[in-house]
Amino acid sequence: MPGNMHPPGREITYAAAIRDGMRHMLRADENVFLMGEDVGVYGGAFGVSAGMIEEFGPERIINTPISESAAIGCAIGAAMTGMRPIVELMFSDFMGVCFDQIINQAAKMRFMSGGGARVPITLRTASGGGTGAAAQHSQSLEALVAHIPGLYVAVPATPYDAKGLLISAIQNDNPVLFFEQKLLYKTTGPVPEEAYAIPLGQAAIRREGKDASIIAYGRMVTCALAAAERLAQEGIAAEVLDLRTLMPLDTGAVLRSAAKTGRVIIAHEAVTFGGFGGEIAATIAESACGLTLRAPIRRVGAKHCPVPFSKELEGYMLPDETDIISAVRQTLHIKQ
């Protein structure tokens, strides 16, 4: 979406927007169904599918056993034979118990079969920390899967995007990993009633600026906007670019913003080391605009540590708007 603002619509939560997107697709296509742990009467661990079983019934809103390899493999086999499954993986950390089905099966079926297989799966999963859920229920693991050819990766930052990107993901004939941001589930924003699709691979400029580019995705977009607002009070005009999807990556939007401001700060909640920010930095460094940068690229991410439990430790470990502000100031050579 080229503009900064979303079109008008009802104010609903990020979780409700995802539900809205699923509802549209289940109504539109009988081959679409949702399965996952406790997605039925319980409504999913975060309430995203609340009430859906009443409309669509247990044949299409399907509780699985706690058996993630079987559930994701089942989605793959169903997709290969004509269905269009949505799978909810309760926490993205649980990819650890079904990683083979994601990276060796879903991602590679089409390629290994010489284009014979089609694997239209949407794997929705709750991602991120800040909830006091500690090391095994708080990670941001999107870079792991963005690395695998054959997978698409979406990380929506707003309710409007959550619905539009989800509809695109379900319509897409490839496996899409859809990282829902736990701390955004209850945030609200305008979401139109009707169905609409946001194409995968189109970043959005959330705030225009000339002095520095903050490139972010997911929950960090909110932090980046808050940081930009505070910087504006100091006379610094920071641009905020929301990637929306990591694969496909909107390389053009990244390079345009970097070329425009000459200063780049990349912010994600994931651990900085080996995170997706490195890919963005390299993309910029390898391009012609790498030569015109006015300051070294800076990354803002989590410390190299499992997500801790204690509120004080967790807050210290995860990045926030203050970290973004200080990174922007550093690129502008402003003393802290």
Partner: protein, 313 residues
């Protein structure tokens, strides 16, 4: 029965030919021969209906040929040619032929079982009256994905046939070193699956039992677990030196060759005479010759097409 014999011969000759090309250094990569297992691999796959689905393991040539996969495209795939089953992207370990319901051989042990549940889910949801077979080895029975799938298939009553080709070894590790109780049928009990224990070198018995299980599953009777005891008389892959088993053991099993056994049965029952038996073998050899000729005359894939199938457009 003639078709069964023909496909078993085809699988045997196909793999012998491919192995010989590997030994000459004429082929790139590797293969996992199922020579000696044809009674199970071909017998079980042939018992499936034409539009049934199946998924195979890394040792997948026999089941694919049993299911009726295109032999020429299979051979071209192993030769890495554009005309191959997977356009040269998959090789021996990933043979796929959607035209006969063969959804793919898989390089990860046990990983096809969850996918088979998914194909069976579609069958059940759409009321197609088919089944999906998941071919597994004995080695896969210690993989979590297989246990999860047996459970899911049972609790959702999916039309999945878990067909275990028990060749006694997980690569070099004998069954007795991999599980305490080697009676594989018992693995079905806690999941509430009916189990069949078969002499896997008796192709006719395998065919008949799978046919029966298939009919029940296709009619909505739920999944089944079928164990075929057999042996691979060649190594795990082309690079196996057979250090973990004796020549005597291999010779003992060679003497129990499932193809010879079927020939003797057909001869004994007066269904085919010696000349007719030889004609079936010769026809299979001709099929493989033609496949080799097709593969050799096919072009390799053009590198410009590499990225075509990473994503569906």
């Amino acid at each position: 029965m003639q078709t069964l014999l023909y496909r078993m011969h085809t699988a045997r000759i196909f793999e012998e030919r491919v192995l010989s090309y590997f030994r000459e250094g004429a082929l790139h990569g590797t293969m996992h021969p199922g020579i000696g297992e044809e009674g199970s691999a071909v017998g079980a796959a042939m018992a499936l209906a034409g539009d049934d689905y199946m998924l195979a393991t890394h040792r997948g040539h026999g089941p694919a040929i049993g299911k009726g996969a295109d032999i020429q495209r299979m051979m071209a795939e192993i030769f890495g040619r554009e005309t191959g089953s997977c356009r040269g992207r998959g090789g021996s370990m990933h043979i796929t032929d959607f035209s006969c319901g063969m959804l793919g051989a898989n390089g990860i042990v046990g990983a096809n079982a969850p996918i088979a549940c998914g194909a069976a889910f579609t069958i059940k949801r759409k009321g197609l009256g088919r089944v999906c077979a998941s071919f597994l080895g004995d080695g896969a029975l210690n993989e979590g994905a297989v246990h999860e799938s047996m459970n899911l298939a049972a609790v959702w009553q999916l039309p999945v046939l878990f067909i275990v080709i028990n060749n006694g070894y997980g690569m070099s590790t004998p069954l007795s070193a991999a599980m305490r109780d080697t009676d594989l049928k018992k693995r079905a009990v806690p999941y509430g699956l009916p189990a069949y224990g078969l002499d896997g070198n008796d192709a006719v018995a395998v065919y008949a039992a799978v046919k029966q299980a298939r009919a029940k599953a296709a009619a909505g009777g739920g999944p089944a677990f079928i164990v075929c005891d057999t042996y691979r008389t060649e190594g795990h892959s082309k690079s196996d030196k057979n250090l973990y088993r004796t020549p005597q053991e291999i010779a003992r099993w060679r003497a129990r060759c499932p193809i010879r056994r079927l020939c003797e049965a057909l001869l004994g029952a007066g269904i085919l005479d010696a000349r007719q038996l030889e004609a079936v073998r010769a026809r299979a050899a001709q099929t493989v010759d033609d496949a080799v000729a097709f593969a050799k005359s096919s072009p390799p894939p053009n590198p410009d097409t590499l990225m075509e199938d990473v994503y569906a457009r």
